[in-house]
């Protein structure tokens, strides 16, 4: 992104992919966002930091992505009474990020929608947990919150509230449907129930330990988050990861992708009334998790990626096991995919269900797996490959139908590609060390990490504090971009199809609520 034509000066930013940073005035911020949007760029993340103790007021940080890489725009405001420009007209996904940023740091945008987003009356509304002078009081009582849902009125319109506790083994969140008969006119989501102060918690941790918390932002993406954290820290600590460690990290990421896609395919079958699919896929997933446990000591691969490399080398016997597993899985997938494809009842539920057209996906900034199923051809492993992906030449999977069937097809094809990658990594894994010492990160340096997790790109921005502390850490899940799109995907579908459509996106609550 060429910022100089907007009169801005930019500098390199520590990150494993091309990234620059620039200070921006309010009008420059708007101009840069408009320019990025016009050229097909997207908003990745937006958050606030309290820098008053360094006499820099509050800092709004906005990360944009375009074909050239990432840009971090920093807009400084002297105090909390100043507003920053609402970015929602340019990037609709900014709406919830801005509201969440206000809930946590207390600086509003100048937009119309000032409803709280993560605030659920657990702390006083004039207290902001991510301000440096915030103190939690044990005597704060849980209050009542009246959230202003948008209502649809008219003959026969009624409202169905669902959640936060759902009738299944899933995360909590609230959905408010406005329906006529069975048809959904409007869905509004209300999230925040799994908010547990992760960003605040980071600030009391040593920078060398933060990868463990990052790995618990969203358990299903623990590898992606831990890798993104490691990337950010290694970038500001001038640490080079040994080649073997880089290859093992990719192996872990692809195994995480395979396991999650297998699980989702099973539940997508099940939600369409095809229990056979769940039985088959949950069995195949269990096999993968057991291999993970044997090879790396953890079924979900938590804490295997550490700053400087990986904590667990891969033994020769497990290489063999993975190679055999790839062959078995490929054969089993071929059989079950044929069954899925030929099953009229299943296809009837999948096709034309929860459609997000490529145009709408582009407008709303749909990202990751769901984005690729709606023609948004972006995959960090192809667009900005870090080692070893450049050598592996990942084949991006896309579809254009944008319905549940497309999201199913993308999952099938991505498992196939990940199996090819696992096999290639296991065969070509370089010898050597798998962990390097990490140097001390310079105080107040900011680094970015970004990894294409199974759900989509996971961004993590890390600012070091003095003496090996964390000053600010903002992990950003692709679910931020995709939750609002789910509200559009359900329009004109029937209520009983919501679980199926929701599952086809399978977004993270924990990764979003932080």
């Amino acid at each position: 992104m060429d910022l100089s034509k907007l009169g801005m000066t930019s500098a390199m930013l520590a990150a494993p992919l091309p990234a620059r940073r620039a200070a921006a005035t309010a009008s420059q911020l708007l101009a840069a966002c408009r320019d990025a949007s016009k050229r097909g760029g997207r908003l990745v993340a937006l958050w606030l930091a309290d820098e008053r103790d360094r006499e820099r007021g509050f800092c709004l940080r906005v990360v944009l992505q375009d074909a050239d890489g990432l840009v971090l725009l920093e807009h400084t405001m002297p105090d909390g009474d100043v507003q920053y420009p609402d970015l929602t007209p340019i990037f609709p996904a900014a709406n919830r990020m801005q509201r969440a940023a206000f809930d946590l740091v207390g600086v509003p945008s100048d937009g119309d929608d000032q409803r709280p987003w993560l605030w659920l009356a657990s702390w006083p509304i004039d207290q902001f947990p991510l301000r440096r002078d915030f103190e939690a009081k044990p005597n704060w009582q849980q209050g009542e919150e009246e959230y202003a849902f948008v209502r649809v009125e008219g003959d026969g319109v009624h409202e169905i509230p669902v959640g936060p506790v759902h009738a299944g083994i899933i995360e909590p969140g609230h959905f408010r449907f406005q329906v006529v008969g069975e048809k959904v006119l409007r869905l509004e989501e209300r999230l925040g129930w799994v908010h547990k102060g992760i960003e605040k918690r980071f600030e009391s941790m040593a920078i060398g330990d933060g990868h463990r918390l990052a790995g618990r932002v969203s358990g299903d993406s623990t590898v992606a988050y831990a890798w993104a954290y490691a990337q950010a820290l290694e970038a500001i600590a001038a640490t080079t990861v040994p080649p073997r460690a880089a290859w093992l990290r990719a192996l872990l990421l692809e195994r995480e992708r395979i396991a999650n896609h297998l699980g989702d395919l099973g539940y997508l079958g099940n939600d369409a009334g095809f229990a056979f699919g769940l039985a088959q896929f949950s069995r195949l997933k269990e096999d993968v998790l057991r291999t993970n446990l044997a090879a790396f000591g953890h079924r979900l691969l938590m804490d295997v990626i550490v700053p400087g490399g990986v904590d667990h080398d891969l033994a020769a016997e497990h290489r063999e096991r993975m190679r055999a597993e790839c062959a078995t899985l490929e054969e089993q997938l071929r059989i079950v995919r044929d069954i899925f494809d030929e099953h009229a009842g299943l296809q009837d539920r999948f096709r034309n269900c929860g459609r997000v057209t490529p145009d709408l996906a582009h407008q709303l900034g749909l990202t990751g797996l769901a984005g690729r199923a709606s023609g948004q051809a972006r995959d960090l492993r192809c667009d900005f490959p870090v080692a070893p992906y450049a050598e592996l030449a990942v084949r991006m999977v896309t579809a254009t139908d944008g319905d549940v069937a497309a999201r199913v097809a993308v999952r099938f094809d991505e498992i196939g590609e990940s199996l090819r990658l696992v096999r290639a990594i296991v065969e070509r894994l370089p010898d050597g060390e798998c962990r390097a010492p990490v140097a001390r990160a310079a105080a107040y340096e900011t680094g970015l990490g970004m990894v294409e997790g199974w759900r989509g790109p996971v961004l993590l921005a890390l600012t070091a504090g003095p003496d090996g502390t964390i000053r600010r850490c903002h992990p950003h899940d692709p679910s931020w971009a995709n939750w609002p799109v789910l509200e559009h995907a359900i329009i004109d579908n029937i209520v009983p199809d919501f679980p199926l459509i929701n599952k086809s996106f399978n977004l993270s609550y924990s990764g979003h609520d932080l």
Binding site: L120, S122, W123, A136, P138, Q142, P164, V165, A167, G168, I169, I170, E171, P172, G192, W193, V194, H195, K196, G197, I198, R201, S204, R212, L213, R216, V217, S218, G219, D220, T222, G263, F276, A279, Q280, S282, R283, K285, E286, L289, R299, L300, M302, I335, V336, D338, I339, E342, S508, Y509, S510, D513
Partner: protein
């Protein structure tokens, strides 16, 4: 249809024998007897995510896969706390979920058992307390 039947037949029954009670558990066998007498031979569980990272949910789901086949042991996950004997709680109990969890507990009929799952549910660990 033939493909489905062939795949089912070829896959066979994968369910493994459930593990025997742990040595340490034998000490509390009397408690177990009491529990069994009260609850009979079926157990219904209502899961509540109280701030989990969703890792525990993945593993609770895994209990239903053909290897563990938890329903085959007479243990079922139910949709309403009113149908539950056990509340299975994951996560460090975020402030935001405290009331929802309390309401779910209140809606569960007596006798009831609460089981905290995972390190976070038991101690909060990395997320800390309060």
């Amino acid at each position: 249809m033939l493909h489905i039947l062939r795949q089912i037949a070829k896959t066979g029954i994968r369910t493994e024998r459930p593990p025997a009670a742990d040595e340490d558990m034998v000490v509390v066998a009397r408690l177990q007897e009491q529990v069994l007498r009260t609850l009979g031979r079926a157990l219904t569980i209502r899961h509540v995510d109280a701030g989990s990272c969703n890792g525990c949910e993945l593993e609770i789901h895994a209990l239903g896969n053909p290897y563990y086949n938890i329903e085959g042991l007479g243990i079922r996950f139910v949709a309403s706390p009113r149908h539950a004997d056990v509340l299975l709680v994951t996560g460090p109990v975020s402030k935001h979920m405290a009331i929802a969890l309390q309401r779910t507990y209140d809606a569960t009929p007596e006798p009831k058992i609460v089981v905290a799952v995972g390190e976070c549910g038991c101690t909060g660990v990395i997320f800390g307390e309060g």
